[in-house]
C-alpha cells in the first residue's frame, strides 16, 4: 500500500466516446467514485458519448443487443444475435439493465451528473464533436460546464498525479 501513500492519484480525466449504457456508466461510476475519494474528476464527452449529456438523448441510452457477445438471457442461456435485431428487444433489454441498476442505487444519467458536480466534478463536451453533430450549448444538460477543445482538455489535465482514462 506504500505506493498509494507516496503517489496518490490527485486528478482523473475521463473520456467517454460512446453512447451505450455500459460505456456511459463506466465513465460516470469512475468519475463519481473519484469525487467520493476526494480525487478531482473531469469527464470529457465526445462523439456518440455526447448523447449522455444531451438533454434530448440522456434518458434514452441503450445497450447494444447485436454484436455483443456478453449478452445473455435471464438465467444465463446464450442470447441469439438474431433476437437482438427484433424491434423492441434492445429497448426491453436496456430497460431491464436500468431497473437492475436502480436496485443498486445507481441513479439515472441526469441525476448521476448532478451527484458528480455536487461533489466538485466537472463535465465537458468536446468542441469538435459538438460541431460535427451540430449541437448548441443549450442542447446540453445544465451540468455541462463548458464546450472545450482537446487542447483545453490537456491544459485542465496539467499537474502531478493526473491520470487520463479512455473508457
Amino acid at each position: 500500500m506504500a505506493n498509494t501513500i507516496d503517489h496518490p492519484i490527485k486528478k482523473v480525466m475521463i473520456i467517454c466516446a460512446k453512447a451505450s449504457i455500459e460505456d456511459v456508466y463506466a465513465a460516470l461510476v469512475m468519475a463519481n467514485g473519484a469525487v467520493m475519494e476526494g480525487i478531482e474528476a473531469k469527464v470529457f464527452f465526445t462523439f456518440f458519448g455526447l448523447d449522455a449529456i444531451t438533454k434530448k438523448q440522456m434518458k434514452k441510452l441503450h445497450t447494444g443487443t447485436v454484436g455483443n457477445p456478453g449478452m445473455r438471457m435471464p438465467g444465463g442461456l446464450p442470447f441469439p444475435t438474431i433476437l437482438g435485431i427484433l424491434p423492441g428487444v434492445e429497448a426491453g433489454v436496456s430497460a431491464m439493465m436500468k431497473s437492475q441498476m436502480e436496485k443498486l442505487d445507481i441513479p439515472p444519467v441526469d441525476e448521476f451528473l448532478e451527484l458528480i458536480t455536487a461533489g466538485g466534478g466537472e463535465i465537458y463536451a468536446c468542441k469538435l464533436a459538438v460541431e460535427m453533430f451540430k449541437l448548441k450549448k443549450e442542447d446540453f444538460s445544465e451540468h455541462v460546464k463548458d464546450i472545450i477543445t482537446i487542447g483545453q482538455f490537456y491544459e485542465l489535465a496539467a499537474g502531478e498525479g493526473t491520470q487520463i482514462i479512455f473508457t
Binding site: 442505487d105 441513479p107 455536487a118 461533489g119
Partner: protein, 103 residues
C-alpha cells in the same frame, strides 16, 4: 486491529481507524475522530451521522445518493460538511465500518 483512546474511553479500531464495534461509539468519540479528520463537529454533522448510524444499524447499504435524498442534507451539503471523501469521513466519525459502496 488496535486499541485507541477517544474521549477517555478505549475502543478497538481497524488499521484505517474505523471503529470495529459501532456500539462503543459515543458523541464525544465522534467529536474527537472528527477533529482528527480536520472537522469541527456541529449539530448539522451530528444530524447526518445519526442518519448514517440509523440506516447502517438497520443493515441498509449506504450510498452518497441515499444520503443526498435523506432530507437531512443534500449532496452538495454533504460534501461541504465532510470535505474530501465525505462517505469515508462520515462513516469513520459515525463509528461504523469503512463504506464498501461504489456509488
Amino acid at each position: 486491529m488496535a486499541e485507541k483512546i477517544y474521549a477517555g474511553k478505549s475502543v478497538s479500531v481497524t488499521d484505517d481507524g474505523y471503529l470495529t464495534d459501532a456500539s462503543q461509539w459515543t458523541k464525544e468519540i465522534a467529536a474527537e475522530i472528527a477533529k482528527e479528520e480536520g472537522i469541527d463537529i456541529t449539530d448539522k454533522h451530528y444530524a447526518v451521522i445519526d442518519f448514517i448510524r440509523e440506516k447502517t444499524l438497520k443493515g441498509e447499504a449506504l450510498t452518497i445518493r441515499s444520503i443526498g435524498k435523506s432530507g437531512v442534507v443534500d449532496t452538495k451539503g454533504f460534501y461541504d460538511l465532510f470535505p474530501g471523501a465525505p462517505l469515508k469521513k462520515a462513516s469513520r466519525i459515525a463509528g461504523i465500518a469503512k463504506p464498501s459502496s461504489c456509488v
